[in-house]
Amino acid sequence: MFSTLVDFYAAQALHRQKIKWRRNILLGVSLTANLGLLFAFKYLVLFLPSVDPMIANIYTVDHPFLGFLLQGVYFSIPVGISFYTFQTLSYTLDVYHNRIEPEKHLGHFALFVSFFPQLVAGPIERFSRLMPQLKTKHIVSYARFQQAFRLMLYGFFIKMCIADNLSPLVDAVYDNPSNYAQWSTWFGTFAFGLQIYTDFAGYSLIAQGAALCLGISLMDNFKTPYFSTSIGEFWNRWHISLSTWFRDYVYLPLGGNRVSLIRWVVNILAVFIISGFWHGANYTFLIWGAIHGMLYLVERLINANKRLPQTRLVLFAGGIAIFISVNIAWLFFRIDSLEQIPEHVNALFHTEGVQNLTLSIPIITMLFTFVLAEIMTYNSRFDQLLSKLPTAVRWLIYAGLFWCIAAWAGVTNHPFIYFQF
């Protein structure tokens, strides 16, 4: 509510104000309020020894006020703060740059900020795309419900059947990598890449389906990213709403590629590191962002000097290289602290562990189904694919997915990974 009110009134004032320095102050107020909240709730912990509520009792004894604050921060982090903060920030920045007219109705603006399907984990929508849809009168339509149902069905399948079944395997390997045989450690490490993708893409599809029931079309957040043949393409297909946000509100204002080479390198690294930092207050996220930044730079520099021929073999080799690099980089995203890296890396190459992960036939079947679906939806979406199929085949697919969700879904409690951000 605080973010909503600040941005609503700041944008109104920005629109009325013509003097530049006053406009800058108003923008500063909005940015400080939003980023201040984000910092207080998400990043304060990086600079403090611990906010575990029970450990924070030691502060309560010696520094009662600090203890109270720490416990307050620990217990009241608003869900999805990173997502709606960025959504409102883009609104204020767009008004500041005169790209859009500010919203005059507080209720409509509040709906834009808190539209429930995408409130907690995106997609991070732009005002110019979402608001006109929110204001349009929508009529109940069978075709829309059908499309929404298909999106949600596939979203539930990949979240509940793929992500939630992989999660215990991934957790087991990441908790004790040296206990596992080498193939299990590799499998667990790479399985996290699949888990985080299906978890987040599943959520995004469910959100899109839920919004579509209300007549709102949210943007696509993922487009089969693991089939990318370059790191640049990967970021055009992965968490699209966030990567385009960083492109439009950080990279381009920094000068984009119309700057000196050194400055461009710095800009690229800055964008990727900030995107890592966006995920949370841990050095591991910064390193993850930096790795992607460096991969991107290397790729661009290679291409700048000598553009490789785009043969199938080159593209395939590029795809494999990107798949491996991205999945190795996920290691830094998944671990809790840098101290875990030596043990994990050692286990990947020199493990003496004997434990093996067990992959049940249902899990293997569902993984194959998922890979097949990914291949068939390359450059399209599941609902679009289904609409091209004959009714009998479509119903067979529905039945198969229903069966997987009902009988083979994972059961241990795994909240959506991106809810923590």
Binding site: M54, Q71, F75, I139, F402, A406, A407, A409, V411, N413
Partner: protein
């Protein structure tokens, strides 16, 4: 628009019926080929119950107090075994699993088939499970997941609900918050003129310095154990306690199924509670005991009050934590008490 809604309803109805038929078929398939593996992983006690329920005159529902032993024990008989040896004419069945409490026993009791012959169930009643530390404990979400699988509904429905986390699956973070709030704000009220609480919340009570030597230095080992006693027993049970509500329902279900219910209120280390904390904590334990005994006796159950049955020497973990794990003699004495009421 009206026509579109009609269109949706007519098409939707056909699809709903098809989905219903599909669900029935899926349930059969799931129950036949996949249920056992899921129960093995998440709710093993239902498989156990299915094995013993038909053939047992008496079923003992227990937790780790029943089966925990010590290497020096003169025998490894469980509490339930000790009861059984006193009644050789009854066939006994035991359902026990570490950390289980009434939340898991209730759906299992619902799964026991109603029979013409009266059956007796003995249900472990652990005073400590009524406290905030257990109710908001870190293992509670997993236990409630098991409980989901024990519900007497279509097995595939249980699986779907479990997958959708339709059970009390609050995170450790949420539970920490609730526990922290309870320890900070739930106040202890004396109803006895001889009992006065100088500090009346768990948090404040834990903050009070304890076991100070002449130089004013605390004996940390003792202080930590003392605080564990406060967290374990400094609470007051009333109707709103979720465990009380589940015990109420369990009793009601069992009575409807023509079962006799015996609650085995298992021993706590009252002697050490008095040593580490004092009479105020013992008073709380006793008033809670009185509440439970009176309530469930009035409701028609037999409550075996073993709260103060055992001296400290019979508690295996007394040097570490207040816990209901007894040596062989302790298990035998508890078994004897219960056997007497059968």
């Amino acid at each position: 628009m009206g026509q579109e809604i009609k269109h949706i309803l007519s098409k939707g109805l056909v699809r709903l019926i098809s989905i219903g038929l599909l669900a029935v078929g899926f349930n059969q398939l799931y129950t036949t080929y996949f249920l056992e593996a899921d129960l093995d992983d998440h709710g093993p006690m239902l498989l156990e119950l299915n094995k013993i329920a038909d053939t047992s005159d008496v079923i003992y529902f227990g937790e780790s107090s029943n089966f925990t032993t010590h290497p020096d024990d003169y025998n490894t008989l469980r509490i339930s075994d000790n009861i059984a040896v006193k009644h050789p004419n009854y066939s006994f069945g035991t359902i026990n699993h570490g950390a289980y409490h009434v939340g898991m026993f209730l759906p299992l009791v619902k799964q026991v088939q109603t029979t013409k012959e009266p059956k007796t169930i003995i249900v472990t009643m652990n005073l400590r499970t009524f406290n905030q530390d257990v109710i908001y404990g870190p293992s509670e979400a997993n236990l409630r997941l098991a409980s989901r699988f024990y519900q007497p509904t279509l097995p595939i429905l249980n699986k779907v609900f479990a997958s959708l986390n339709h059970y009390d699956n609050r995170s450790g973070h949420e539970r920490d918050l609730l526990k922290w709030k309870a320890w900070t704000y739930d106040t202890l009220v004396s109803t006895d003129d001889s009992v006065h609480f100088k500090v009346n919340t768990i948090r404040r009570w834990c903050e009070v310095p304890k076991f100070l030597d002449s130089a004013g230095v605390q004996d940390n080992a003792k202080r930590q154990l003392a605080d564990q006693y406060i967290k374990a027993y400094a609470f007051q049970i009333d109707d709103s306690n979720p465990m009380v509500q589940e015990f109420d329902e369990l009793l009601q279900v069992a009575q409807q199924k023509n079962m006799r219910v015996v609650f085995n209120l298992i021993p706590e280390n009252v002697e050490d509670a008095a040593y580490y904390i004092g009479d105020n904590l013992v008073w709380l334990m006793q008033t809670n005991r009185d509440f439970l005994v009176e309530r469930y006796t009035n409701l028609g159950a037999t409550v075996v009050d073993n709260l103060e049955l055992l001296p400290s020497k019979h508690f295996l973990d007394r040097a570490v934590i207040p816990q209901e794990h007894y040596d062989a003699k302790g298990r035998e004495l508890v078994g004897l008490q219960v056997a007497q009421v059968l």
